[in-house]
Amino acid sequence: MKQNYIRPLDLKRGRVDMSHGSGGRAMAQLIDELFAPLLGNDYLAQGNDGSVMPLPDGPGRLVMATDAHVVSPLFFPGGDIGCLSVHGTINDVAVMGAKPLYLSASFILEEGFALADLKRIVESMAAAAREAGVPVVTGDTKVVEQGKGDGVFISTTGVGWLPAGIELSGNRAAAGDAILVSGPIGDHGMAIMSQRESLAFESPIVSDTAALHGLVADLLASGVQVKVLRDPTRGGLGTTLNEIARQSGVGMMLQEARIPVQPAVAAACEFLGLDPLYCACEGRLIAIVAGADKDKALAALQAHPQGTGAAIVGSVHEDPHHFVQMTTGFGGKRIVDWLTGEQLPRIC
């Protein structure tokens, strides 16, 4: 049944106003003319408050993850808040070892936000969801007064299916395990930083935002004994490894020379006094695998297009203090500590 509105939504010059969140006809129009056609799928088309979806057959469990996105700027080299909000949540599901199935999305829009920008964001979101094969099956829209938001915030939740037999958890790292990353670190953080108004510098750095479930599936299918998977977003590789070390009650030793960092990212970090170890990635995987399987794991990652830059960067050992340490390229040793404060605000 097609609704008849007096005038179609002005997607070129129109702006979000308070009525778009009021639950009335204006909101219905926004959904019918913007969200539904772009994100369109059978579940959304049911038009109910929630969606009813089937689960795969066979033994397994559900995995659910949620992620709010408040990145500034909304559009950055290599992506925007739309695709980021799809990738971020898919990755949180994927690193549990699960196959992501469905997403929900809720939007908090600021009064005055350009509908053209909203359309671009939802288009990007739809493309990311389509490419990943994970539909957005339910959603919500709220509008806040001007000055109470920052254009648009997007919160997404993902549901995935974890087949029986896969057990990944941050507490499973053990002495002797190897630590791998799937590619160069810090791209997303520095892509965002290079766009900050106050710091405009020209750089070819592009965000690595991507959905990782294909890469994860290949790694798991390779028969490698995988203990922990994580995507190092805020806090970067350094903080993520500290989280795992604490959860597992182990220590880690990294080799600085083996950690892949793109030259442009290294240079930008140098310039701004930042450390790539704490710069966010949105399309990289940290894998902790049994030491004996490390070469096989590296080969499995490198065989996937998203893992060509993969590397073995360190190992896990026993340490009652749960320190993550690093042999520097210079030849000394140091701690790689938790990130203190915030290195880069609002990056995802």
């Binding site: 140098e270 520097t328 210079f330 000394g332 701690i335 404060g341």
Partner: protein, 376 residues
Amino acid sequence: MKYVDEYRDGELAQGLAAAIAKEARPDRRYHFMEFCGGHTHAISRYGVTDLLPANVRMIHGPGCPVCVLPIGRVDQAIRLALKHNVILCTYGDCLRVPASDGLSLLKAKARGADIRMVYSSADALKLAQENPEQQVVFFAIGFETTTPPTAVAIKQAKAMGLKNFSVLCCHVLTPSAISNILESPEVRKLGTVPLDGFIGPAHVSTIIGSRPYEFFAEEYRKPVVIAGFEPLDVMQAIRMLVRQVNEGRAEVENEFSRAVSREGNLKAQNLVAEVFELRRAFEWRGLHTVPYSALRIRGGFAEFDAEQRFGEDYVSVPDHKACECGAILRGVKRPQDCKLFGTVCTPENPVGSCMVSSEGACAAHYTYGRFRELPA
């Protein structure tokens, strides 16, 4: 990364380490102070101490701009932001320095103060131009490196006739701090701080040149080697210091000749002299009140002096009783000698200023090196 990796080369480092080990006499100990926080950071971050023989010890000096800022100065900045509702701009390192009443600039921001992190004085000036209806104050801290840009901002503000821009000037002087350490009773009389020489500042020296250190070498018989902030610079400087000690020399040598000359940057020096004059006295954290050790804005630029514009005078505030920042800044104690270190004072909840900036001795040791004291 070209022109950076060359100065961090692991193989060259091993070669230098071997040379230092060979030249350092086994029958004596060497104690060198790296004045600058930039050196402290490099030593900790690259693990330089792992490459030094056991009888060569580095002592961290007071050259960290944030660390030497006394509580009262941060209080002053917070009062400007909270009481006078100015937009207060400062360098990122300053934001977390603990002030009175459990506040810091970051916490004042959460209470509604308009605090902005800037990368340069030019950013602060731009903010003033963009917000003509609001007063913008640049909280200017740092040694001689950051002083010329502040002078430029003040001169530009004057040329543009800006009525809403001013500077809370807390710029301090390196030579006064070195004299203060050399004159301190611990070094002069008691001998609790054995000091065999200094690694001289890198960036500061690009401005002031190597000449101001000649006095220390001659008067106090302490060798000074000016070094860059890269780890190989530090290693090379240590080797040069070991040689001077072994040969009984006390000279100013320049390892950082790619950037530092004897005279320094005369243009920058003239700019600073035009806008600033010596303060009769300035309170430093750790070094107490040091005569003629800081700068204030000259009368001709008085309208850009935030202290005068808002009538907010400096009020001295004592440090936390158990905090050893003072002794650590003078090289009398090491971070791990402080009872608060790593217990109640951590980078997340700093009690003293040395735990705040990444150039601070405590923060550098906590973040990069604290595994050394713990049993494996």
